[in-house]
Assembly symmetry: C2
Homo-oligomer: 401 residues x 2
Amino acid sequence: MFQITHKDGKARCGILKTASGTVQTPFFMPVASRGTVKALSSEEVLNLGFESIISNSFILSLYPGIDVIEKLGGIHKFSNFKKTIFTDSGGFQVLSKDFLLKKSDEGVLFKDKTGKKNKYTPEIAIQNQFKLGSDVAMTFDDVAHYGLNGKDYVDAIKRTHLWAKRCLTEHSKLKTEYGSKQLLFGISQGGTKAEYRRFSTTKINRMEFDGYALGGLVVGEKRVELFDTIKEAVKCFDEHKIKYLMGLGSPPDIVWAVGLGVDCFDSIYPTSNARHGALITSKGRIDIFKKKYLEDESPIEEGCKCDTCKNYSRAYLHHLFKNHELLAYKLSTIHNLYFMEKLLSDLRKAIKKGNYSEFSEDFLKEYFSGNENKEFSSNIQQKYLEKEIKEGARFLLDWKR
Amino acid sequence: MFQITHKDGKARCGILKTASGTVQTPFFMPVASRGTVKALSSEEVLNLGFESIISNSFILSLYPGIDVIEKLGGIHKFSNFKKTIFTDSGGFQVLSKDFLLKKSDEGVLFKDKTGKKNKYTPEIAIQNQFKLGSDVAMTFDDVAHYGLNGKDYVDAIKRTHLWAKRCLTEHSKLKTEYGSKQLLFGISQGGTKAEYRRFSTTKINRMEFDGYALGGLVVGEKRVELFDTIKEAVKCFDEHKIKYLMGLGSPPDIVWAVGLGVDCFDSIYPTSNARHGALITSKGRIDIFKKKYLEDESPIEEGCKCDTCKNYSRAYLHHLFKNHELLAYKLSTIHNLYFMEKLLSDLRKAIKKGNYSEFSEDFLKEYFSGNENKEFSSNIQQKYLEKEIKEGARFLLDWKR
C-alpha cells in the first residue's frame, strides 16, 4: 500500500497505492472541497500532473448531499477526476462557529444553512466518505483551536482518540460488508504543545490505520513552534508509515517539512493566493495588481512552462485581475498549481539523487531573495509574508545548525 | 477580400479574408469586449472552432489603455488570439448614460470612471482601433436608442453619415501612411422605421467600406419589427458585399437572419446566458438551477460532443452553479459556444447543399418544442423567452408565407 523507495536524510520518496492508481510521494494535493479545484476542470488538474486531490465530505453533505453523489456513481464519476481522491471528514468545518451547536463524546450537533439541526458522529463521517467512494478517508477528529488552555487540549485529544477508534471500527465493518479498497488515515491532535502532541501521535500510531496525519496545525502558530512540532511529531510515527501534514502549503514550508520526513500535503495556499492575484515565482510571490505590471510583457516567470506563462504576459493578467475577468482566476490557478507540482517533482528528483539538502538550500535562498517579498502590498498577505520571511529565515538557520 | 461561394435563396456561404486569415461565412463571433471571451482562454475559443471574435476599443481605452496595448504589440499579441479580431468603436457604450456628457457633430465628451473628461471623435475611434491592430475596425456611429421620436432619429442618422465619412477619411490616411491591411466596416442606423433605415442603409452602401453592418438593432424591438427591418435593410446593400448584423445572437434569430442574407453576427447571448445557468440545447434553453437537475446524470444535451457534455453531468453543473463555483462559468460557456459554432457550421453545410429551408424548419421546430421553453423560471429570462416563442413562432409563420 505504501512503499518507501529512496531516502535522503529524513526526507524520502515512495509510492502510495490506492484503488484509483499510484501516487508518488512526497506529493501535494490541490483542495477540491466541493468536488472542484476552484476555477479548473478535472482534466486541467490532471494535465498539470497531479495524481491526487482532496475533497470534503462534510461540505458535500450540505450540498448536493452524500446520497445524491452516491446515486450518481460516487465522487470520482461526479467530478470526473480519474485518479486518487482523498476526502476529509470535515472536522475542522463542523466544529467551527458557523455550524456547531453542541459537542459531546457521542458526537456533534450542528445547524446547516437552512437552520436545520443535524447529528454528526465518527460513524456518520465514515459512512459518508464510504458512500462517496473516495480512495482515502480521514478520521473525524476533535480539532482544538489555537490558543486554547490545557484542559481543552486534553479533552480534544481524548475525544480524538475515542472517535479514531470508533472510525476504525465502523470502517472495518463497512469494508468487510462491501469489500471496498478504501484506505483510512488516522489524525493526531495536540496543537504545538510538545507533550500533548507526542502523547496523541504515539496513541494514533498504535492504531491500525493505513496512513497517519498530523491535524490541527497551520492554524496561526508561530513558524518556529510549528516546525518544532512537526519535527518531534513525525518521530512518533513508525518510519515505514505514510505521513500526511494537513493544511500546509507554502513552497518554503513544504520544502522544510519534506526534509523532516513528511510525505503528503494539502492546502488552499496556491489556489487561494492565485485568486487574490498573488502569483508564485521562484523568487517568492508577486502581487499582479501592482501598477508596475501594467505594461510588463514578460510572463509571470521567465522560463516557466505552464500554459499561462507560455501564452500570456503579466500585463494581460494584470488587466484581467483589475477588471475582475473570470479568466484571471483560471490562468493564475494554473500557474500556481504548476509551480507546486514542479516543486514537488523537483524535490522527488533531488531526494532520489541524494541532494535534498543542496536543492532546498538553493531553492529557499532564491525564494526569499525576491524584492517583492519585502514590498508585498495586499493587506493581510503583507503581514503574513513578513512573518513568513523572518521566521522562515530563522527556522532555516535553526535547521542547519 | 469577401467572396460568395454558394447561394441558397437569399442565404449564402462565403469566405472573408483578413490580415489574420480566413473566416467562413455565415459566422458568429463571441464577444471579448476586454480582450477575453468571459471565462475562457483564447486557446479554448480557438479549439471550439471560432475563426473570429469581437473586442471593444472604447472599453479597452478605459483600461488598460490603447497606448499600453499598442506598446505590448497590439490586441492579437496581448490576448493571444491568433485568428481574426474585429473591434467595435464602442459607440453604443460611450453614448450611454454611464459615460456621455455632451454630444455634437464634432464628437462626444464623456467622463470616465475616475470622473475625468475625455473627447471621443470618429478620428479618435479609428486611431484607437488602428493602434490596437484589429483585423476589422467599425465606424463610430450615433446609436439612436429605441423609442426615440422622429427628429432624434433623423439627427442620429445624419450624424452617423457625417461620422462614417470622417472615419473613412481618417482610416485611408492611416492605411496609406502605415501600409496596414486593416478593414473598415460601415454601419447604418435608423432603428426599425422602414424609411429611416432604408435611407441610412442606402447612404452607407454608397460609401467605400470593406464591409457593411446594421447597427442600433436588437435593443428591445418587437421580434416582428426587427425581422421586417432586417429583411428590408439587407436589400439596400449591394448583394456581393459582406453584411454584418450587430448584436444578434439567439439560435432561432440567427437561423432566420441567415435566411435573409446576413453573413456575420456577434452577441453576448450564448456567453451571458451561460453565466446565468441558461444552457442552450436543440430543444431550447434549460435552467440548470432547477431542482430537477439535482440528480440528473445525463449531460446538458445527449449526443453533444463538447468537452462539457463529454465529461460532466447536469447534476454536477447544477451543483457548481448552486455553489457559485468558478468552474460553472467555464463549463457552461464552453457548451453554449460549442452549440453556436455547431449551428453556424450546420447552416453553412445546409446552404452548400441547397437545403437551408429544410434545415432551418427542422431546427426551429425542435428548438421551440422543449418543455422548459414554457416553464423557464429565472426572472427576466422568463419574460424574454415567452416573447421569443410567441413572436418567433408568429414570425416563422410570416416568413413561410
